[in-house]
Symmetry: C2
């Protein structure tokens, strides 16, 4: 195995005039932005803590134009950062100072919907929700529903392997993409996956999904559609402690129930959102669960009864079942508006994204509570409990530089705690630039070497979203937390559970 992790091969002063000259006649002029007033809008994605002004932004209108751009960048050794709607939360689409932004928003056509095979063929710039809207006349929809689904695109969803409230039952993006047409850095076309359940050869489609723009560009994807359930209802359950709520989550799954959604909020999150949305949340509860069932009327009725029984046995102090579609949406409104609610009570907040095995829910929440004292900052917890996917919201004031630093350290400590209990540093937001240091904690040196070798197989020139996701050895050494493999203690500076 090679000794060196990927290091960039591009120049410090790339030949942008040469690039524009090569593209003249191949793309309409309005597809190429290079004036600061035009490119400013692309300086960051949803992680606005990090910003870089892109020298050039190119927005191809078809695959041939995209291939022309990629080919020209390859010849001139210019890095390429792909971008969908820019809603990502880990800086995956943050520009590179020596590269271009390749925006895919104009590749936004739904090419076909086939109810017989329950699938649709779409371009990468199609918005997540637009697929379900187009499939609705056939009684079908596209299941993964990130909370940004009004704006985010399927191309970005593929890059980040996006999840959502319903992914416990219906899977992540990787489980709902059947096929992708991919353009490589050499301008070659690859067809990954197929309509069939399995594909021969190596399973490169799954590896491509979640690869954060490091391997190539999707120009077309076949997505799985599923029948829209006739009925959906939510049980809202209050608990006196996060422990008992944690047990309730484990017991629901242990009973063989797969809820359409299973979300948890701690007391701070409940108190944060209730005045904002008036969802009728129980302010006495120390933890609140929202648990959804969908299917036929009979299935839902039966499953809701089973859910209630499990919650009652786990010590629920209050139970309420949505009695109408309107009430169901109200129950969800609080959970879905947790981020804006945080914005009302704190000048700034930092949304983390880690996963843990479900059985550690309570101990991790207790540890986060202790960290609040250690870092002198408040944290509200909302999360996809069924998946063990945490979204702690750390509240701080960016006008106080000291608080920014403490918020970053607090966030890093949470992620490293997730790894420590056998979880991961990202559930659905990706690594991007935000969590690149924690990759040193999550993975061993040989594992990072393999990521690099795999990336090199697709991108031997290190031009695709360089300096993201996979850290260099130098970075890990500097971060000082290189993972030690083989059963050794992984975090000498963190207590062991």
């Amino acid at each position: 195995m090679t000794d060196t992790l990927i290091s960039p091969a591009y120049q410090q002063t790339p030949d942008f005039p040469g690039l524009l000259a090569r593209l003249a006649g191949k793309l309409p002029q309005h597809c190429i932005l290079s004036r600061v007033e035009d490119t400013r809008a692309y300086e960051c994605d949803g992680l606005s803590l990090y910003r870089t002004l892109p020298p050039v932004v190119i927005l191809p209108e078809n695959e041939a134009q995209l291939i022309a751009v990629v080919t020209a960048c390859k010849v001139l050794n210019i890095p390429i950062v792909a971008r969908g709607a820019g809603t990502g939360l880990s800086g995956g689409a943050m520009p590179h100072a020596q590269g271009i932004i390749l925006g895919l928003s104009k590749l936004n056509r739904i090419l076909s919907i086939d109810p017989a095979s329950a699938s649709a063929v779409v371009q990468p710039g199609v918005r997540n929700l637009a697929i379900s809207e187009a499939a609705a006349p056939f009684g079908l929809y596209y299941a993964p529903d990130p909370s940004s689904q009004i704006a985010c695109t399927i191309g970005g969803n593929i890059a980040e392997n996006s999840g959502g409230v319903h992914c416990l039952k219906y899977g992540l993006t990787v489980h709902n993409i059947l096929r992708a047409r991919v353009i490589t850095i050499d301008g070659e076309v690859l067809e990954l996956g197929s309509e069939a359940p399995d594909s021969p050869g190596l399973e490169l489609l799954a590896a491509f999904i979640g690869s954060e723009g490091m391997l190539g560009f999707v120009t077309e994807a076949t997505v799985r559609l599923i029948p829209k359930p006739a009925c959906a209802r939510v049980v809202m359950a209050s608990f006196a402690s996060v422990e008992s709520a944690g047990h309730a989550v484990a017991n629901v799954i242990g009973a063989g129930i797969i809820p359409a959604g299973l979300e948890m909020m701690d007391k701070r999150a409940v108190h944060m959102v209730e005045p904002f949305v008036n969802a009728g949340y129980d302010l006495e509860a120390n933890a609140l669960l929202l648990c959804e069932s969908d299917g036929t009327e009979e299935e839902v009725e039966h499953e809701i009864q089973r859910m209630e029984a499990v919650f009652r046995e786990a010590g629920a102090t209050r139970l309420q079942v949505s009695s109408s579609e309107q009430e169901r949406l109200t129950f969800w409104a609080g959970r879905k508006n947790a981020f804006p609610a945080a914005g009302r009570i704190s000048p700034d907040y930092y949304c983390m994204d880690g996963t843990i095995p479900r059985r550690h829910l309570a101990r991790v929440l207790n540890a986060i509570e202790e960290m609040e004292d250690e870092y002198g900052l408040r944290c509200a917890n909302v999360f996809h409990a069924g998946d063990g996917n945490l979204h702690p919201l750390i509240m701080f004031d960016s006008n106080k530089p000291d608080e920014v630093e403490r918020a970053e350290k607090f966030g890093a400590a949470i992620l490293e705690l997730c790894v420590q209990v056998g979880g991961t540093i990202t559930g659905e937001h990706g690594v991007g630039i935000e969590k690149i240091n924690q990759m040193c904690v999550q993975f061993t040196r040989p594992e990072l070497d393999f990521f690099s070798a795999f990336k090199r197989a697709f991108d031997p020139y290190s031009l695709l979203n360089p300096e993201k996701v996979v850290p260099t050895l130098a970075r890990c050494a500097e971060y000082g937390k290189m993972h030690v493999h083989g059963g050794e203690l992984r975090f000498p500076d963190l207590p062991r559970f």
Copy 2:
């Protein structure tokens, strides 16, 4: 992208004495077989058409021994072919004349079963069914159920991404493995995947599953367990034509029903198995469907009613629902014994494995019927209809060399037809050595190049199961059916649908 597909780097006369000398003291003597009477049992896997006597067979008893073997082979440039139970049907474990067989059968311990997280940690040599047996006291089981599940091992299942009758509802192996501990050709340990629903970094676990021994060796896997359903029943439906049965399959899926199993047999298959098993199959039917529902009593009753309604509407000529567990097993017995039944009426048979989009079921079956005349051989069709995974059984007599050749050509034509209608050359049996020529048909040159580049990232020395799965350019050129990409006609010598 590199121009050359993988070509072997090992010697024609490897230093086996040197290998044995290096391993002396590191493995017990009984773990190393080199006498012909001992190694003969390893000369083929379930695809007995192809045989090679392995010079040396090594059966490590623990991970440290396995690493010692791999490291010694790397130093001496000796190819390694991994083997589980040897039940594979595509020659993936066929020995290499210049290499060793690395048998994993002695790594056969179930390390833990955790009902709270519904998972088990097992070594690769554990038999598929043994996992479910061990999990049964907790009301759990391991879902993928290849028909060889009594004998086949989880390591082999991972190598082949095995399926089974129930994978329509419960997924293939790739959907049921949470984590794998992998030893690389450099003797390094990689942890791929995690207990969490998503993992950061590149999704190498999914790419590893189904990689047919080309990337490394699993020494431990965490598998997902699911609750054993309280109840299961089967609807058996007769149809007057494969078209109407094909429509029934599409309509079941289209109605949003996900059967626990959905299998189809054509008339020849029914007539072949009924005298053998007396399952009570309808000998008048031109196509028979078996459709299973599992869940709680109420769920099954409700779903069975919906299935019957769909079948009736699709023109079923006879419907029967299993009224007891015994009857359910009898209904399945015919389907599961199709292969031995073929052995009773024909000296030899060749079981193919391709997939097609479900909507092409009828036209592909009709085309196969026409091929029977063309190749002068009979073919019975049993298949996982819900998945579109065909298992045509071509009957021939290996004492007639001409028939062997025609059977091989018939099989190749079926696989190429699968590709032509948008399907694939393997559903669950892998590529191995059997389908390596059809890889030239399935994939374009750049796609094969990427497979090679990906393999090189794991195996830069080309020592892991060389000359399997990914064909060289020379082989594709010789086969004369190199795939042409970009919307061009893929099979100039086959009619277009």
